[in-house]
């Protein structure tokens, strides 16, 4: 909603007089505003200005959608992206869903980064672009090449065969992000690029990975003010809006902290719990290759459902 000043050009009724009288238009009750406009000398122009403002608001907001339209949009645009990580695909019924924010929680060395790298390589191999925000220098191109080579037989050593592998690797864009403000900058830039369709290619961005988002947010949480939590929630909304508007699946990882009674709980607190659509808990026995995954939160699956898968390292 633009400030009233900027609307003066297009709508001459909203002049400086109107602006000074009707600051914070949204915060006041319409009838009280109209009543107060009555008492003023130029009441007619004020009333017309109010009507015009209301029509601008009405035009700007998207119209109410009904269930059938939502379902059609979901079926056409919000497709499932297989990750190649069997445990996740088994639990999620096929893979990550475009338009949803999925969170992987787990203690250190439980397979979260491996899951991210596997998803990136699978999506890139299937033709989509991936954006990978790496906060801890854990992105490994060699590992991606191994994963791509394992399942599709691209031989890495052979110079002549470098073509297909190189094309797959080119679809994964990796950026190093070390604080939350940098993340906001990059997400805003991505939003602008996608909206203006600068990156118009055959390979649409299908997956956005942030490994790990908790290392960006934990430093700003804490302290007595609400700014840290506000930034965290705003980041969540920005990611969900990107996911929904441009049909991207977002995958973030989170670490664990000590909870009450000696157990561990996911980091980022209670407010973060209502941000992701789906939350999965990973764990791995020490010295074993088997990764256990269970659902913490899912719209259709009861929490606690678990799957096991073996990681090939």
């Amino acid at each position: 909603m633009a400030p009233l000043k900027s609307m003066e050009k297009d709508h001459p009724l909203i002049d400086t007089h109107f602006q000074s009288f009707f600051e914070d238009f949204l915060l006041y009750d319409l009838h009280a505003l109209i009543a107060s406009a009555d008492n003023h000398s130029s009441s007619n122009t004020f009333k017309q200005g109010i009507d015009q403002l209301l029509s601008v608001i009405d035009a700007k907001l998207p119209s109410l959608r009904n269930g059938l339209q939502l379902l059609q949009d979901a079926e056409c645009n919000k497709l499932l992206l297989p990750t190649g990580f069997q445990g996740i695909d088994a639990l999620l019924g096929g893979g990550l869903r475009a338009g949803q924010l999925t969170e992987l929680v787990g203690p250190s060395s439980s397979g979260k980064t491996q899951a991210c790298l596997t998803s990136a390589s699978t999506v890139a191999k299937n033709g989509g672009s991936v954006i990978y925000f790496d906060t801890g220098n854990s992105f490994s191109p060699q590992r991606i090449a191994d994963l791509v080579g394992q399942t599709s037989g691209y031989v890495v050593g052979n110079q002549a065969e470098l073509g297909p592998l190189q094309r797959v690797m080119e679809r994964i864009l990796c950026y190093s992000v070390f604080d939350i403000y940098q993340l906001f900058d990059m997400l805003q830039q991505l939003k602008i690029n996608l909206k203006s369709k600068i990156v118009e290619s055959d390979h649409r961005i299908q997956l956005l990975i942030i490994d790990s988002i908790s290392s960006l947010i934990t430093p700003i949480l804490g302290g007595s003010g609400p700014q840290g939590h506000a930034l965290m929630i705003s980041a969540g909304y920005l990611l969900k809006k990107l996911a929904d508007d441009h049909n991207i699946a977002v995958l973030v990882t989170n670490h664990m902290v000590a909870g009450e009674g000696g157990t561990s709980k996911p980091a980022l607190g209670e407010s973060w719990k209502s941000v992701p659509h789906i939350r999965l808990l990973l764990s791995r026995e020490y010295g074993s290759n088997v990764c256990n995954i269970s659902t913490l939160k899912h719209p259709s699956v009861a929490s606690g459902r678990a799957a096991k898968c073996t990681m090939y390292l």
Binding site: M1, Y28, I57, L61, L71, H229, L296
Partner: protein, 279 residues
């Protein structure tokens, strides 16, 4: 006593499942727990509070389904209220496929043949209206323009008699951190959060006057549940709900102006359900 008589008496007349199906078709009440415990009518505002995840959105979906279904269709009684429903998604997390699954299941359950009537399904899906907001400004804009939109819906067909708000406290942190950006500081005595909440409450009240409807809002607990048997830290905003020996505390974070609008407050935790009434 004959053998047949005793066996027949033990077997009973119908199973619980059959009885539930029979009653829900005949008596159209909101048989969705926990709402079946409170007497609700149009114009009431109910809040459902609980930690995440505690199936709050699922309750909203079930209530929405019992509102959009007709009373009976092709001779099959469904026991619905035959109204439209508006879902304001402030969390931006709604999954339409879950709604569709539950609606299909409910239609198939009521039908003797066990299949899903496509026309009925389409009718119900069309009665479910959806809007999403990603900040307080969008929420206020939507509320202000809702009056005209609802009027248009009423002219087209069935009116909207249920308003569901998913997560009324979704913008709490962002609003708390916002400040007024204006040179005229002298007029801005109140906090931004306070002003926004008052505006929301006013708009909802005005809306309820023009379009009487039932408002159900969910709210997640954001300060964490502290299970304590000793209440040594009593916050003046805290509500205590006693259930057997455990004492569950949750801290209220919505401003008092929202509290004044509420009629009922339902607290749901994974194992405990309690209803608080406001008069």
């Amino acid at each position: 006593m004959e053998k047949g008589g005793v066996k027949a008496w033990i077997d009973g007349d119908e199973t619980a499942h059959d009885m539930l199906r029979r009653i829900s078709a005949v008596r159209s009440t909101l048989l969705v727990p926990p709402l079946h415990r409170v007497p609700l009518r149009l114009g009431n505002v109910v809040e459902i509070v609980g930690p995440s995840p505690s199936a709050k959105t699922l309750i909203l979906i079930q209530v929405a389904i019992s509102f959009v279904l007709p009373r009976e269709w092709n001779g099959v009684p469904y026991g619905g209220f035959d109204h439209s429903v508006l879902f304001l998604d402030l969390d931006c997390r709604f999954d339409i496929s879950r709604f569709s699954q539950m609606l299909t299941h409910r239609i198939m359950e009521g039908n003797a043949i066990g299949d899903c009537d496509k026309t009925l399904y389409d009718l119900c899906m069309r009665r479910f209206l959806y809007a999403r907001c990603s900040n307080s400004f969008e929420f206020l804009q939507t509320l202000k323009s809702l009056h005209y939109r609802l009027k248009r819906e009423k002219d087209h067909g069935v009116g909207v008699h249920l308003l569901l708000i998913d997560s009324i406290g979704a913008f709490h942190w962002v609003d708390r951190a916002s400040v007024f950006l204006s040179p005229k500081e002298t007029n801005r005595k109140k906090l931004f959060l306070q002003s926004v909440s008052e505006a929301v409450v006013q708009d909802i009240k005005k809306l309820l006057q023009e379009h009487p409807m039932l408002v159900i809002a969910t709210k997640s607990v954001i300060f964490g549940n502290t299970y304590s048997t000793t209440s040594n830290e009593v916050n003046r905003c805290s509500r205590n709900v006693t259930r057997n020996p455990q004492q569950i505390q949750y801290r209220e974070y919505m401003p008092s102006v929202w509290q004044s609008l509420l009629i009922f407050l339902i607290y749901g935790a994974p194992s405990i359900l309690a209803v608080l009434c406001y008069t």
